[in-house]
Structures are given as C-alpha cells and as structure tokens.
C-alpha cells in the first residue's frame, strides 16, 4: 500500500518533467491559462455584451471596435470575450458530468462484473449507436432550448466513453499486484475502487477529459448553430456564428471572430490532451 503511494508520487514529478519538455502540451497549457484569464478578467475590462448601437451596425474593425460590430451594432470583441466564460463553462461541466456518470458506471461494471457488467455495457452500446447530434436535438427540443439543456444533451452522449475507459482500466488493474495486495489485506470493494483503481486510472481519464472538453465545446456550438442552444442575446460562440452568418458578405469579421475563438479553444484542449498522452505513455508519440 505504501509502496504504491510512493510509486505514484514518483511518477507525478517525472510526469511534470516530461510535460515541461513537451512543446505541444506547454503551448496548449499556456493557451488555456490565457483563455481562462480572459474568461475571468475579460468581462471586467469591457462593457455589456448586449449594448446595441444601430448607428454603427456591421462596422468593420476600428479603434473604437477592435473586432468590428455585428448586425445590432454590438461590439464583437466584447461579445467574444464574454462568450469565453460560457464556452469554457459548457466544456468543463459537460466533461465533469459525463466523467462522473461514466466512471461510476465503468467502476460498477468492472468491479462487480457478471450481470452488472453485461447490462451496463449493453446500455453504453445503445448510447454509442445513438446518433449524437440527433439525440441532442431531441433532448433539446424536449426540454426547451437553453444552455443547461445543451449541457445535459451533450453529457448524455459522451458518458459512455468514460464508462468503457474506466471498465477497461479496472479489468487491467484488477489483476495487478498492488490491488491484489490491498484485497488480501482486507480492503473493502469501495475502498479498493476509490483508493487504488480510480487514482491509477487518472492518466487516461485526464487525456480523454481534455479531448472531451474540446469536443463538448464543438458539439454545443454546433447545437447553438442550428438554434437549439443559448438564447439571444447570450454571446455563446456557436450561436454567434449562426446569428452573423447571414451577414457574412457584409461583415465577415462578425462570424469569423467567434469561429476562431472556438477553434483556438478546442485546439488548446487538444494540444493539452495530446501532450498528456505523450507524457503518461512515453512509448507513443514524441
């Protein structure tokens, strides 16, 4: 037991050393720190994202409006900055929700085995076979369009991945010595799960999680694009691209700015995910 803990700590600092040497991961991390700073501080620096000024609608970028204005004369930069909170919030909460549900399901399936395993795995099969966006559309339509419902919808389609991941980890780790040792020492099932199996599955979960934040942001923005998401005047990035796409000929900046914001954010999470995988599993990549 103690041996396992020591081993973990040792891995931790080695991981950080490898992480620092991984340029992709570092770029991703720095981008993320920047995004989070913008999300936290941005709204304090600029005014309200809903202030309209019809006199300057669809104005090109200028000193007064660094990224121009949209069809209602709202400042695009202000809206993009305010949207950072929303998109990051969606991404992280969807990831956490599906991680929680998925890990619980995966742990139960892996540890209890038998019928539990069979039933849970078949349910994940069904969810995986379900066309994601259509399911999300249906849920969104059923519950009414709102940000919360978009998050629920995206979480519903992404939890099975975690369930499978954790189950595979549990099956692999179950036979490993330190788990068997803990068992032999009389640890309870749940203790084994929370003290040993879960911490040791952290690496693949982190990797999958960082990819999933990006995916969730993309999917949520896609739902926002077809009108199933945030309500006006909420500056959700996907909805912003959708609202301004009718004006792309007159004001390309208005839809490009939020689209690029989505791109950069997803990119940051993907870089981080790639980096984490390389770091945790040095055989792959680099």
């Amino acid at each position: 037991m103690t041996a396992a803990l020591v081993a973990e700590r040792g891995t931790g600092s080695a991981v950080w050393r490898r992480f620092r040497r991984n340029s992709g991961a570092m770029i991703g991390l720095m981008l993320l720190v920047l995004l989070v700073l913008l999300a936290v501080l941005g709204p304090l620096l600029v005014g309200s994202p809903s202030t309209q000024d019809l006199a300057v609608r669809l104005a090109p970028p200028s000193a007064a409006h660094l990224l121009g204005t949209d069809q209602l004369g709202r400042d695009v930069l202000t809206r993009v900055l305010s949207g950072a909170r929303i998109s990051l919030g969606i991404g992280v909460s969807v990831m956490l929700a599906s991680l929680l549900v998925g890990s619980a399901a995966g742990l139960i399936a892996g540890l209890l085995g038998g019928w539990w395993d069979e039933v849970i795995m078949r349910v994940t099969d069904i969810f995986l076979a379900f066309p994601g966006l259509i399911l999300a559309m249906a849920i969104s339509a059923a519950l009414g369009p709102s940000l919360t419902n978009v998050m629920i919808a995206v979480a519903v389609v992404s939890w099975p991945t975690y369930a499978r991941l954790i189950r595979a980890q549990v099956l692999a780790l179950r036979e490993r010595e330190f788990v068997e040792a803990a068992r032999a020492l009389g640890s309870s099932q749940s203790r084994v799960a929370f003290r040993h199996l879960l911490p040791n599955s952290l690496a693949p979960l982190l990797v999958q999680g960082s990819f999933d934040v990006g995916n969730a942001i993309l999917t949520a923005a896609g739902l926002g694009f077809i009108g199933f998401g945030a309500q006006p005047p909420t500056p959700e990035w996907g909805a912003m691209v959708s609202e301004t796409r009718n004006y792309i000929a007159q004001a390309p900046w208005a839809s490009s700015a939020p689209a690029l914001a989505i791109l950069v954010t997803v990119l940051a999470f993907n870089l981080l995910g790639d980096g984490l995988r390389d770091v945790f599993d040095p055989r792959k990549g680099v």
């Binding site: 066309p131 339509a141 791109l263």
Partner: protein, 334 residues
C-alpha cells in the same frame, strides 16, 4: 460463425434499445405535433381530428405497441408532417447522405492515411510538423464555419467548384435506381451527369471529411510510431530493409487495426456531422430531414432517422470487427 451470430443478436438488442430511447425521448415532448402539422391558423376541431387520425390520443404504451408491431412488419409508420410513409421518406433522403458520407470517408482516408504515414516517417521534421498542424486545425475547426468559408472561397470568389445542391440546375437527375447520383448516372450511361455529380460532391465531402481526415492522420501517425518502435520492426530494419519497405510490409498492416477502429466510429459521427454540412450545402439528405422533423415534432420521422443511423453505425462496426480478422497478424499468420 457463432461470433457473428452473437454479434447480430447484440445488434438487434442495441437497435431495440435505440428505438425505445427514441420513443421515450420523442414522447416526453410536452408539445403538440398536431399544431405543428396543421399550421398557425388551424382551428381546434381540425387539431382534434388530426390527433384522432394519427392515433396521438392513445395511451403511450398502446402507441409503443402499435409502433413496434408496425416496425416488425418493416413499416416505420407515417410522417406527421409529410404524411408519407417514413420508409419512403428515408428512401428519398438517405441515399444523398450515404453518398456524401462515403465520399467523405474516401477523402478522409486518401488524405489522412498518407499524411499520417509521412508524419511518422519524418517524425519531428517539417513534413511531420505540417501534418500535425493540419491534424490539429482539422480537429478544432467548426464544420459549419469551414463549410461557409469553402463555399464563399471556392464557389463564389474563385468559381472553381459548383455551389449548393447535388447537381447543376440544368442537369436533370438520372432515373433513380440506387439514389446515388454517381452510380445512377453511370447506369444511365450519362458521363456528363456523373461528372457534374462528382464536382458537386467535392466541397461538401471535403468539408465533412476534414475532421475525420485530421483524426485519421493522428491515429495513423501514433499507431505507426508505436509499431515502428517495436522489436520486430527494428529487426527488419537492421536486416537492411528500407523504411518504405518496412512500412509497406509490416507496419501498415499492424497499424491498420487502430485505424480501422477509428474508421468505424467515424462513419457514425459523419452521419450526424452531415446535419450541419447539409444545411449549408442545401444537400437533400437525411440531416436536413432530421432537423426539419425535429423542429416540427414529427416523432415517427425522428425515430426513423435515429433507427437508420443506429443501424448504419452498428453494421459498419460489425464490418470493422470482422475486418480485424483479416488484418490481425496472429490470425492471418497462423
């Protein structure tokens, strides 16, 4: 053989689960499909009549039993909006999506595989960096924005490629056999329409396939790198085989497994990705049909789409699993 039978049984179970899920979700809607179908100005009596005719006022369980009964006879029911049989509607819309998806998969493979191989061969050098940049950008760009950009640039500004739709306005569609323009035009021995159809496919398929191509580049690269670092490849190399030969002979074969897995899941995500691409490209496929059906609360239609997408996903994944047998060296070498 027993493996295939077991898989087929599982597939039926999964599809049943999908129908049940779709049924529950669509019937949990607190809204009134009659109002959707009969329009804004309809009178109350008309709505009541519509509900009666379409069996919407029966209890939920009864509706489900009726639906499953129909389904077992190959009848997916009638669309509330179009008043057509769902099977007919799907037959009209599915081929367009299938054709787009297949071409997108072909593009994804044609772009993703070579890029992944090149990246692995030139690990850490400029070609690798370029390929990885493509993979990163392709995986992070919102598909609808890419679609708008592509249409504006290649159609409107440069005029290289045709605009929205499957065929030019002046080419009348070939007689429908398969519903796939490329095949129907060949059956009709009409090379002009074939060419026209192909040109119309390029932009939407590239846009739809971009994400998959990016993912495939990454997977191919990392799978190859892993294989290349293994002992038997080192042995082969030390025997004096050139890298290209090593890749061709051993590595590609072994790297095919993870790539196949990705392909299977890609096909599923492509079908849903088509929802967004089809909107921008006015593509008469199942994505647009699904969206309109969801908007007009056309439950039977939404369930039909869900079922067909679930079926496509399951079939492709079954095929992928079977293909493992051909690629897995432990099976083919023994």
């Amino acid at each position: 053989m027993t493996y295939i039978l077991r898989r087929l049984a599982l597939m039926v179970l999964v599809l049943w689960g999908v129908t049940l899920g779709a049924f529950l979700i669509s019937h949990a809607l607190p809204s009134d499909p009659a109002a959707a179908a009969m329009g804004n100005n309809a009178r109350e009596e008309q709505l009541a009549d519509f509900r009666e005719r379409n069996g919407l006022n029966k209890p939920l369980a009864t509706q489900y039993v009726i639906y499953m009964g129909q389904l077992l006879r190959g009848d997916m029911g009638t669309s509330l909006r179009t008043q057509n049989g769902i099977v007919n509607d799907l037959r009209a819309f599915f081929p367009a999506t299938l054709e787009l998806t297949l071409v997108a998969v072909v593009f994804a493979v044609l772009i993703g595989l070579p890029l992944g191989v090149i990246a692995a061969l030139y690990q850490g050098r400029p070609p690798d960096l370029l390929a990885r940049t493509f993979a990163l950008l392709g995986g992070a760009t919102p598909v609808y924005w890419l679609a708008i950009l592509a249409l504006t640039l290649f159609h409107e500004r440069l005029g290289w490629l045709p605009g929205p739709g499957r065929l030019d306005v002046y080419s009348l569609a070939p007689p429908t056999h398969t519903g796939l323009v490329l095949i129907d035009s060949l059956l009709a021995r009409d090379p002009a329409v074939f060419w026209d159809g192909l040109r119309h496919l390029i932009l939407p398929a590239l846009v739809l396939g971009a994400y998959s191509a990016a993912l495939l580049t990454r997977m191919t690269r990392s799978a190859l790198l892993e294989v290349l670092s293994q002992d038997y490849i080192r042995t082969a190399r030390s025997k004096g085989l050139t890298p290209a030969r090593v890749i061709g002979k051993h590595a590609v074969r072994n790297a095919a497994l993870p790539v196949l897995t990705v392909l299977g899941s890609l096909f599923g995500s492509l079908l849903t990705g088509a929802v967004l691409t089809e909107t921008i490209f006015s593509w008469p496929g199942i994505g647009g049909y699904a969206t309109t059906s969801a908007i007009s609360l056309d439950f039977p239609a939404v369930m039909g789409v869900t079922l067909i997408a679930g079926l496509a996903y399951s079939v492709v994944n079954l095929l992928v699993d079977l293909a493992y047998g051909f690629f897995d060296p432990r099976i083919s070498f023994s």
